[in-house]
C-alpha cells in the first residue's frame, strides 16, 4: 500500500499525528489525482454511514413530520429562527430526485413531497386535488395531470397513475418510459398519449396522440397502438375502443405510397466474445455486456441492402427492432435502466454472412459510426424499439451507399455475472419480424 493511501486511511480513521496531517495536507495540495482519491474515499464513507450508522437521522437539522403535524413543526421552526436556538432538522433519508414539478395551474396538492414549482421530487405519491400540473421525470418524460388525479413516482423511467386523466409526452431520451395503471401498463416508444382511468379504476383508456405505444394487460396480452388509435384496458384484457377491427381506419402513415420498408434478408447475426457458438441462437439478435470475464458479452449485427434507393431524397427514417425474450439470464442482476447504442457502417463491410461470425471477424468498433441510442427498463420483455434521429438520417443520406451494416451493443454492464441477455427478433424469428428500416420520401 502506498504511503499516500496510508495517510488518507489514517486521516479518515482519525489516527494521524500532527506531523502526518501536515504531510497529507501537502500531498493533497500538490496532487489533483490524490485529491480525487480522497474525495472518493470520503464519498464512500458517507454512503456507508448512511447505510449503517443508526443515529444519523438525529444529526440532521430539520425533521419532516407526517403531514398532519406539519403546521406545528413550522411554528416550531419559525420560533427557532427568531433566536430560541436551533435544532431543526432531521430529514427522512432522501434518495436522488427522479423528477421535477415544472408547472402548477391553479393546482392544489396533497403530498408529502414538495409541491412548489421547481421542486425536485423523490419517489413517492402525489395527489392532485384541483387544477392542472406537469411533472417532468429526469429521463425527459413529461406527465400533465388533470385533477382529481393521483400518481406514484417510481423512478425516472416509470410512473404509476392510480387515478384520473393525464397526457404523457415522451422525447427520444425517455423512449421505453413505462406508465403503470390499475388495469395494466403502457410502454412508450417516443410519442405523446392520453390516459384516462375510470372512477372505479376498472377501465383505463389509452389514446395515442402522436407516435406509438404498446399496451400490456395484467393477463399478459399486449397490443401495439399507432397515432389516433384508442384502446380500453381492463384487468381481463384489451379491447379496441368503440370501433371494430373491420371498421378500423388504416393509419394514414401506413396508407401512403411514399414509404419503403427494407429488411435485413437473412443477414442478421449475434456474435459472442468467447466464440462459443452454442450460446447463440439464430432466431435472436442477442446483446449483453458481461460483468465478470466478459467472455459472454454479445453484440448483434445486421445488414440492410437496396441498391435502388436514392438516399439523399429520404425525408425521414426509422430503424425498428423488436424486443423479444430469449430466456437467458436474470433480470434482477441488471440495473433498472439499460442503455443501448446503435452503430452503422456504410458500404461493403467484408463480413461473410453465410457462416457463423466470430468476434474478431467483424470490423473493429472504431470503423463504425454511432447513430443512435435507446433505453430498456430491465422489467420490459417485449416491445418495438424505434430509433429515429437526425444522426441516423444524416449518416444514411451522406453516404448514399447500396448497403449499411448496423451493430447493436449494450452499454450498461450487469451488476453481477448471469445477467439478462437482451434479444431482438432476427429475420428467422418465428413470430416477431426482424430488424427493418422504414424510409419516408
Amino acid at each position: 500500500m502506498k504511503r499516500e493511501e496510508d495517510l488518507i486511511s489514517g486521516y479518515l480513521s482519525k489516527n494521524l499525528t500532527e506531523k502526518e496531517v501536515k504531510e497529507l495536507d501537502e500531498k493533497l495540495n500538490g496532487s489533483q489525482e490524490l485529491r480525487g482519491q480522497f474525495y472518493d474515499q470520503v464519498n464512500v464513507v458517507t454512503s456507508l454511514e448512511e447505510e449503517f450508522f443508526p443515529n444519523l437521522v438525529d444529526e440532521k437539522v430539520i425533521t419532516i413530520q407526517p403531514p398532519q403535524s406539519k403546521i406545528k413543526l413550522l411554528a416550531f421552526a419559525a420560533s427557532f429562527f427568531v433566536g430560541v436556538g436551533l435544532l431543526i432538522y432531521s430529514a427522512t433519508k432522501s434518495p436522488r430526485p427522479i423528477a421535477t414539478l415544472v408547472s402548477n395551474e391553479n393546482a392544489a396538492w396533497e403530498s408529502a413531497l414538495p409541491t412548489t414549482v421547481g421542486s425536485e421530487l423523490h419517489p413517492g405519491l402525489m395527489s392532485l386535488k384541483a387544477g392542472v400540473a406537469t411533472i417532468r421525470f429526469l429521463s425527459g418524460a413529461k406527465v400533465t395531470l388533470e385533477a382529481p388525479a393521483e400518481i406514484e413516482l417510481n423512478n425516472e423511467m416509470e410512473g404509476e397513475l392510480k387515478g384520473g386523466n393525464a397526457i404523457i409526452q415522451v422525447p427520444e431520451s425517455a423512449q421505453g418510459f413505462v406508465l403503470v395503471t390499475p388495469s395494466g401498463y403502457a410502454v412508450d416508444h417516443g410519442t405523446s398519449f392520453g390516459v384516462s382511468i375510470s372512477e372505479d379504476q376498472s377501465i383505463t383508456d389509452f389514446t395515442v396522440l402522436d407516435g406509438e405505444i404498446s399496451v400490456h394487460s395484467q393477463n399478459g396480452d399486449s397490443l401495439f397502438l399507432h397515432e389516433n388509435e384508442s384502446v380500453s384496458l381492463r384487468q381481463t384484457g384489451i379491447s379496441k375502443k368503440s370501433i371494430t377491427e373491420a371498421e378500423k381506419v388504416v393509419p394514414q402513415e401506413y396508407n401512403q405510397k411514399n414509404i419503403i420498408r427494407i429488411q435485413s434478408k437473412g443477414k442478421s447475426q449475434s456474435i459472442i466474445r468467447s466464440d462459443n457458438f452454442e450460446y447463440l441462437d439464430r432466431n435472436f439478435l442477442m446483446v449483453k455486456l458481461d460483468a465478470d470475464t466478459k467472455a459472454y458479452s454479445r453484440r448483434s449485427l445486421f445488414n440492410i441492402r437496396n441498391s435502388e434507393i436514392n438516399w439523399p431524397q429520404v425525408k425521414k427514417v426509422k430503424l425498428r427492432l423488436n424486443l423479444v425474450p430469449c430466456g437467458l439470464g436474470n433480470r434482477v442482476y441488471l440495473p433498472k435502466i439499460n442503455n443501448f447504442k446503435v452503430y452503422a457502417l456504410a458500404g461493403f463491410s467484408g463480413i461473410e454472412w453465410q457462416g457463423q461470425l466470430s468476434w474478431n471477424s467483424i470490423p473493429p468498433l472504431t470503423s463504425f459510426h454511432p447513430v443512435g441510442d435507446f433505453k430498456i427498463p430491465r422489467s420490459q420483455e417485449r416491445g418495438s424499439i424505434t430509433i429515429e434521429n437526425p444522426k441516423l438520417l444524416n449518416f444514411l443520406k451522406k453516404n448514399n451507399a447500396d448497403e449499411y451494416t448496423f451493430l447493436i451493443i449494450r452499454e450498461t454492464p450487469e451488476d453481477r455475472g448471469g445477467g439478462l441477455v437482451h434479444a431482438f427478433a432476427s429475420d428467422s424469428h418465428p413470430e416477431a419480424s426482424g430488424p427493418s428500416l422504414e424510409l419516408y420520401f
Binding site: K14, E18, Q41, V45, E49, F52, I88, P97, T116
Partner: protein, 191 residues
C-alpha cells in the same frame, strides 16, 4: 378607529399566511438538497461531528438570507456557495490545538473550488453505492463495514475478530472502499 383596527388585523393575517408559505417553500427546498449539501461539507471537513456543526450554521444562514434567493431553481447552487463560506469560517475559527489535526485553509479552498464542479457526479456515485454496489460485497466485507460504521467501533478488537492486524484491517477496509468507488463510477457513468 374600528376600521383602522380591522385593517391592521387583515394586514397581520396576510403577512402570517405568506410567512407560512415561505416556511414551507424553504423546508421543501432544503430537505430536497440537504443530503447533497451534507456530503459536500463532509468532503471538506470530514469529521462527522464538525460537519454537523457546520450544517446547523448553514441552515441558519440559508433561512436568514432566503429572501435574497432570486429563483427556487438556484437554491442548490446558492446553498453550495453558503456551505463553502461556512466551512472556511469554521476552519478559520478552530482552536489552535484542533487546528493541527485538520487540513489547511489553503487546501480546503482548493478542494472547495474543485468540488463545486463535480458535486452532481458525486451524488450519482453515492446513489449507485447505496442502490447497487453494496449488494455486491462479499459477506465478510459487508459485516466488517457494518460494524466499522455502526455506533461504537473498537477497531483493534474488530481487526482481531476478522483475523487481521490493525494495520492490515485498515488496509483491507481501504481496498473495499476503493472497490466500491470503482463500482460506483462505472455505474454513475452509465446513468
Amino acid at each position: 378607529m374600528v376600521c383602522g383596527e380591522l385593517r391592521k388585523l387583515a394586514y397581520t393575517l396576510t403577512t402570517l399566511e405568506s410567512e407560512e408559505e415561505k416556511n414551507l417553500r424553504f423546508l421543501s427546498l432544503f430537505t430536497a438538497n440537504e443530503s447533497s449539501i451534507h456530503a459536500y461539507v463532509r468532503r471538506l471537513v470530514y469529521r462527522r461531528e464538525d460537519a454537523s456543526d457546520v450544517m446547523q450554521k448553514i441552515a441558519i444562514v440559508l433561512w436568514k438570507k432566503f429572501d435574497q434567493l432570486q429563483s427556487d431553481d438556484d437554491f442548490r447552487k446558492w446553498s453550495f456557495g453558503v456551505a463553502r463560506f461556512e466551512v472556511l469560517a469554521w476552519r478559520r475559527d478552530l482552536a489552535r490545538e484542533r487546528e493541527r489535526l485538520v487540513l489547511s485553509t489553503e487546501t480546503i479552498e482548493l478542494m472547495a473550488e474543485e468540488l463545486d464542479r463535480n458535486a452532481e457526479q458525486f451524488d450519482l456515485e453515492r446513489e449507485a453505492i447505496l442502490q447497487h454496489c453494496l449488494s455486491k460485497l462479499k459477506k465478510d466485507q459487508r459485516s466488517a463495514l457494518k460494524e466499522m460504521y455502526s455506533d461504537q467501533c473498537d477497531t483493534p478488537a474488530l481487526a482481531q475478530k476478522f483475523g487481521k492486524s490493525t494495520t492490515g484491517f485498515y488496509q483491507w477496509i481501504y481496498r473495499i472502499r476503493k472497490n466500491l468507488s470503482t463500482c460506483a463510477k462505472s455505474l454513475a457513468n452509465a446513468m
